[in-house]
Every structure is written in C-alpha cells, then in structure tokens.
Amino acid sequence: MPAPDVATSGHAFTPDAAAALGGPSWLSRRRIEAAEKLAAVAWPTSREEIWRYSRVDKFDPGRYSPPDYGEGSGPARQAPGGGPFAAEAGDRAGLVVVRNGRVVHAEVEPGLAAAGVVVADLADVDPGLAAERIGACSDASPDPFTVLHDAFLAGGAFILVPDGVVVEAPIVVLHWTEGDGVAGFPHTFVGAGASAEVAVVERYASTDQEMLVDAVVELDLAENAHVRYLAVQEHGTGTWQVALQRAHLGRDATLRSSAVALGGDYARLRSESLLAAEGAESDLLAVYYGDGDQMLDFRTLQDHAAPHTRSDLLFKGAVEDRARSVYSGLIRVRPGAQKVDAHQSNRNLVLSEGAGAESIPNLAIEADDVRCTHASAVGPIDDDALYYLATRGVSPDDAERLIVLGFFEDVFGRLPLPSLEAPLRRSVNEKVGHLHPSDPRGAR
C-alpha cells in the first residue's frame, strides 16, 4: 500500500513520518502497525454517540504536526509549569519530566530502584519489561485518537512497581507541551504488581499556542495492588486535548483515581475502569471548571466484568461565560457479574446564562443481582443561597465563589493525595476568581 503523504492525506501524520521516529524496534513496529491503521481511519463526527456534544467536527489534523524530537532536545531538561505544584506534592519517590511527549528527565529513589521499582522512559527500558505492557490497557479501547497516539508514540513515562513493593511517597510526572501547531503524544504506563502499592500524580500543562495533546494513561493493577492516581490538567488556552485514561484491575485490586480539569480549549478525557476480577474496587473522582469558550468533555466507563466488584464515580463541574461541559458515563455490568455494587453521580453548576452542561448517565446491566445507582444534576446557583449570604453582607462575587468552592468541597475531601488539596483548591479558586484572589479558607 503506498504511504499517503501530506498532499494526499491532508496532514503530516503519515506512515513515513511515524516510521522515521527512532527508538527500540518493538516500539517502531507498534508505531508502523498503528500508522497503517491510521491511514484508513475515518475521523469521527459528532453524529457518533460517543462523540455527541463534542467539538470533534472542528478537528483538523492538518493544523498539527508531530514535534521535531531531534536528538537530545537539550535545553529543556526540565519542563516549565511544574513549579510550586511539584514542590507541594511534598516528599516524592520519583519524578518524570516529559516535554512534547518525550521524557527529558526521570529519577527514582535509589532504595526503590534497588527493590526493582522502575521509573523511566518507556523507550529506554528493557524491551522485555515494556513491549508487553505498553498497550495492555489502552489497546482494549481504541478510537482514532489512540491509533494516532500509537502511530507517533516515541517515549513516555514508564512506572513499574514489582510484586509486594510498597512505594509510600507519590511519583510525580510533569507533562509539558509547547510549540505552535505541535501535536504531543504523552504516554504514561503505571504497572503495580501483586500486592504492590503506589501513588502517581500527573500534571499536564502547555503554552497558550494552538496544539494537540493526544494522551494515553494506562493503569495496570495486578492482584491486590493498590493505586492512587491524580491527574491535574492545566493546559494553555489553545490546547486541544484528547486523552484516554484506562485502568485494568485484577482480583482485590483497588484504584482511587481523581482528575482535576481546568485548562485547554477543548479538553476531552475518557476515563475507564475494567474490573476484571472479583473483589476489585474502582473510585473515580473529578473536579472541572470551564470558563471563556472552553469545552471540557468526559466520557466514563465502569466496566464490571467480574462478580463482587465495586465502583464509585463522582464528577462535579462548573461552567461559566460561554463554556460547555459534557459528562457521559456508563456503568456496564457484564453477564454473570453478580453482587456488583456500582454508583455514578455527576453534578454541574452553570454560572452564566451563556454556559451549558450536558449530563448523560447510563446503565447497561446484564446481571440480575446488582446494586447500581446513577444521579445527575445541572443547575444554577440557588438564589436563596445568594440572598442568605447577602443578608450577612457577603458581596455577590464572594458569595458565588464560596458556593462554588463549597460545591467542590466533598470531592476535595476525598482526593487520594491530601497533600495536594491546598494547591488544587488554590487553582480552582483562581479559576473562580476573576472575583477575588484571597484565600477563603483562612478564617479557620
């Protein structure tokens, strides 16, 4: 099959371009396979249910190019944007810095390295470790953007915790993307062996230039593994993010995962948990806040493939100005998965008349002895609450800020990494705060 070039495909994501990226042979093979699929991919439209309400109709691959990875993109040994956030994560067991999808720095505590913990660039680790694992979760849920991701995947954060090893402090991953028209393909793989424990904090940030961040996060939990995961998305104003975060949970494994989404022009996250064996538990939380013309788009899946599994989901968001949010979530209980306990709740505050939120919870239950609930709400701030605060002398701006922050409080209280509560609360407060920069929590 002749490889289409830019002229015929209308974009720079050609098999030749994919093949030209270096790296280990297993990764090249993976890219070439994906690039061949990509050549035949039809870009989705919002007529497809999974893309309903999205901005995918505006997606133009011709606006972006793969970054020029070059060799040793030297000056950026550190990605900007980690800043105080990285510092406030407190003690950390490891750090990965990723720039335009390529790992520029990776470190891990020597003691943990000696215990077999790997924190590295997936392109650098022993192919015996990485080749089988990359795609272990994400390959089960492809879409055109994961195919594009795989076709240009040349590196990423690879975190592996061997059986029985407990990593106390979080491992921090900082993703930074820059460059006009750049397409970045950040990839994070977290593998937790049997009875292993680890916490991973990721922050995604970018400049305000137009760019595409096509990200994949894989969380692979073996039997009785316990993973806490927090992703903070603070992209610049021109970023299109299309991301998949997918977790596979083995027997008695527990995942506590949170997403905080504040940035980007259009920022989509598919968040999926496959509860593959008995006793697995998945807890998915999210806080999102859109303003200006942003659209924040979430598609969630709690996929119960085994009996006696539990999942909970709480996504809370606010939109103001002309911002839009989409939540579309599915609890699936597969045949035979009895005694499943699954809940999903999505609540939205609409702060401006021009803003809007879609909320579509769904259940697909194919077992008869389960306990599943779903709830959804979209509404403005209650006038009675504003009046109540006004009778105490609280200004309208402050009242709105108090109510919005209060609305998110129950999610903040359940974050898997309490040390990050303060910086995250501050980030949200800044979003709410065209109003007032002061910290409302100072009083007590």
């Binding site: 209650d382 200004s395 409080e409 007590r444």
Partner: protein, 269 residues
C-alpha cells in the same frame, strides 16, 4: 447611637400589595417585638427591609442613621449594619461558617476586618453551646432546627451589626435552645448596643429577650403599639380579643398563609 427608621413603607409582590404603610423606629439597644397573625406581612417586612428582589417597593423609606437604604442591594444594606436571622436558614454545602464570616467581614469596613476571627468564632461557639463539628461542616447542612438558630445567632454575634431582624428565631427551638439564643441576643443589646426587631408569634421569646416595645402587625401595617404588657394581653386574649380590648379593627390578611417551609428542599447539589 444608631437609628433605623421605617416610614410609610409600601411594597407589593406580583401587583398584590402586602405592606400598606409601615412606620417603625428602632434605636440602638432597643428590642421591638413585631407580633401578628399569619398572613399579616411580617416576613415580607423583614425581606423588604433587607432588599430581597422579589418585592416591589411602591412607597416610603427605610433609613439607617439618615441614609436611605432602599435602592441598595442586600449585601450593602448588611455591610451598613443590618442583619437578618432567617426563619429557615439556607443550607450551604461545603461552606464553613468561618469562610462565610470572613467574606462577610470583608465588606463591613475596617473595624469589622480586625484579626482574630477564628478566636471570636470559637468563643461565641462556646458561649452559645455550638459544638465544634458544626463549625467544620457546611453551614446549616444537616443541622437540626435548634442548631440552625444557634448558628444564626453565632453569625449575628460575630458580625456585630447595628440592627438585627429576627424572623421567628424561636420557631423550631426547644426550651433550652430558646433560652440560649434569646439570652445571647439580649446580652448583645447591652454589650454592643444591638437594636432588634423580633418577629414572633410567642410571648415566651420576649420573656428572655426583654422587649422594650411590642407592635401588633396586621394587614400589612402596625395597628397598635405598646409596652411588654401588649404581648401579655395577646397571650391572654388572642388577636381578636386584644383588638377588641384596644378598640382597633384588625384588617384582613394581606397574603395567603405562608407555606410550611419554603426552604425545606435542600439547596445544594
């Protein structure tokens, strides 16, 4: 010494006149009880004084130390020294009372912005019998009736307004809570010179919160005023009996009876 003066106040809702020329003058340190049958417009008066948007003011004035308050938004009236303790305090999920009071004090001028808010709250909580857990929860969320009214009183005590309007602060209170709340407010009248307009159905509130003046409110206006003996007369004879004794005519209700609990639905999400 401050003066809250209401004169000739008229207001309507949806074209239906509720307040029909209210006159009332309250000075610092004074307690005025406003008693009247259901539908007489007492709660409407409270909300019109505070500037709730649902009502159209068609005449009269409300001044604080000579400054006209009508036309100011609610929060600015509060910042100038008014406070409304609500009959049904609104639940604010995730908003702690400390957050609320700090935001409130920011608008209330330099004196109110004094430091030590946390200590003030703790001290008032101890004085009012508000347990610590209520300070760390969302304001009014899953509070009992009594806890809500104690929390209202705590906010009132910390904010130290010039005048407080108490809209049936005695409803939903057991005897002990009523005594705690009323005694605390009575103490404010001497400690900080708080002036009080207490809307109530019950004379029992006025035994703890000693009223200087009692006003009978009916048909959207004050129909009779007197000392504490008026409340006693009301308890003995009822509105009709007292009206007959006083030789005044009780106007018909201006509003349908209030719904049992308009804020019974929780506010939050």
């Amino acid at each position: 010494m401050s003066v809250l003066r209401i004169s000739g106040l008229r207001a309507e809702i949806g074209g239906h006149e509720i307040l029909r020329g209210v006159d009332l003058e309250v000075r610092s340190g004074e307690v005025h009880a406003l008693m009247g049958p259901n539908g007489s417009g007492k709660s409407t008066l409270a909300h019109v004084i505070m500037g709730r948007g649902d009502y159209d003011v068609t005449g009269g004035s409300v001044t604080l130390d000579g400054e006209e308050l009508l036309g100011l938004p609610t929060w600015q009236r509060a910042a100038r020294g008014l406070f409304l303790a609500m009959q049904y305090p609104v639940e604010l999920p995730g908003v702690r009372v400390g957050d609320l009071l700090q935001a409130a004090r920011r608008t209330a001028g330099p004196a109110a912005a004094a430091p030590g808010l946390g200590e003030r709250i703790t001290a008032e909580a101890a004085r009012l019998g508000v347990r610590d857990e209520f300070l760390s929860r969302g304001v009014n969320v899953e509070f009992s009736g009594g806890e809500k009214k104690r929390a209202e009183t705590l906010q009132l005590a910390v904010l130290e307004p010039a005048f407080a309007i108490l809209d049936e602060i005695d409803s939903g209170l057991d005897v002990d809570a009523l005594a705690d709340v009323a005694r605390r407010i009575e103490a404010m009248t001497t400690e900080t010179g708080l002036g009080v307009v207490a809307i109530t159905h019950y004379a029992r509130l006025l035994r703890e919160l000693r009223a200087d003046r009692v006003h009978i409110f009916a048909g959207g206006r004050v129909v009779a005023s007197g000392g504490p003996e008026l409340a006693a007369g009301l308890e003995r004879a009822g509105y009709d009996g007292l009206a007959a004794e006083l030789g005044v005519e009780l106007p018909a209700p201006v509003a349908p009876p209030e719904p049992a609990d308009p804020f019974a639905e929780p506010v939050g999400f």
